[in-house]
Symmetry: C2
Subunit: 127 residues, 2 copies
Amino acid sequence: MKGRRKPRKKTKPARRSHCAVACTLDLVGDHWTLLVVRDLVAGKQYFDEFLRSPERIATNVLAARLKALQEQGLIEKVPDLADRRRYTYRFTEAGRHLQELLGHIAGWGRKYLPGTRILEGIEMPPT
Amino acid sequence: MKGRRKPRKKTKPARRSHCAVACTLDLVGDHWTLLVVRDLVAGKQYFDEFLRSPERIATNVLAARLKALQEQGLIEKVPDLADRRRYTYRFTEAGRHLQELLGHIAGWGRKYLPGTRILEGIEMPPT
C-alpha cells in the first residue's frame, strides 16, 4: 500500500443554479450547520463547547460540519494561545456575514414558531 | 397478512431545543425544502413544475419534501379544479409565513454570494 494516496482535496461542487436561495442552502442548508454558526456567534470557540449545546450534536456530525465550514472559507481553525494542543474555531471575514443570516432566521422562528426563543448573544437584525 | 396495518401516522419528533434557529431548521433545514417553498412562492403548483426547476430535484426527493411540508401543516394538496386526476399544492395559512423567511434568505444570498440572483416572483422583505 506504500505510496498510495487517499484523495484528499475535494473540488467544489458546481452550483445547482444561480438562485440566491439555492446557493445559500448549498452553504448552510442542513440540519446542523447553522447551529454551529449560532454557537460561534454566541461566543463559543472550542469543539467541546459546541458539543455541550442543548441539541446534542454528535461528535462526527460536528467534526464534519466544522470541516465543511472551513473548506468553504467561512471559519478557521487556529491553535489556542493558552494551550497549543487545543484548537479554537472562529469566523473568517466572509463567515462573519453568516451572523446576519442567522439573525433573520432566529427572528423568523421566534415570530412564527410558538414557544421558541433566541439564545443569549444572538444579535437580531434591525427591523 | 390480512388485517395487518402499516404504521402510517408518524408522531411529531420532539424539538431538539427551544432555540428559534433550531426549530426553524427542523422545518426547512435541508438542501431542498426551501427550493420547493421558493417555487410555490413563485406561483408553481404542480408536481411537474417543481421538477422542471433549474436545480433538477429528483422525483423521490420532491415527493418526500412535499409530504413533509404537508405533515407539518405548511402546504396542502388539493385536486386540480380543471382536471380532477391531477393535484395542486398550495400554502396553508401557516405556510404562507415561509415567504418571509425565504425573502430574508434570498436577500442574504444575493448580498453575499457573488453571481447569485433572485428568481422572478420572489418578493423581498422591506429593508
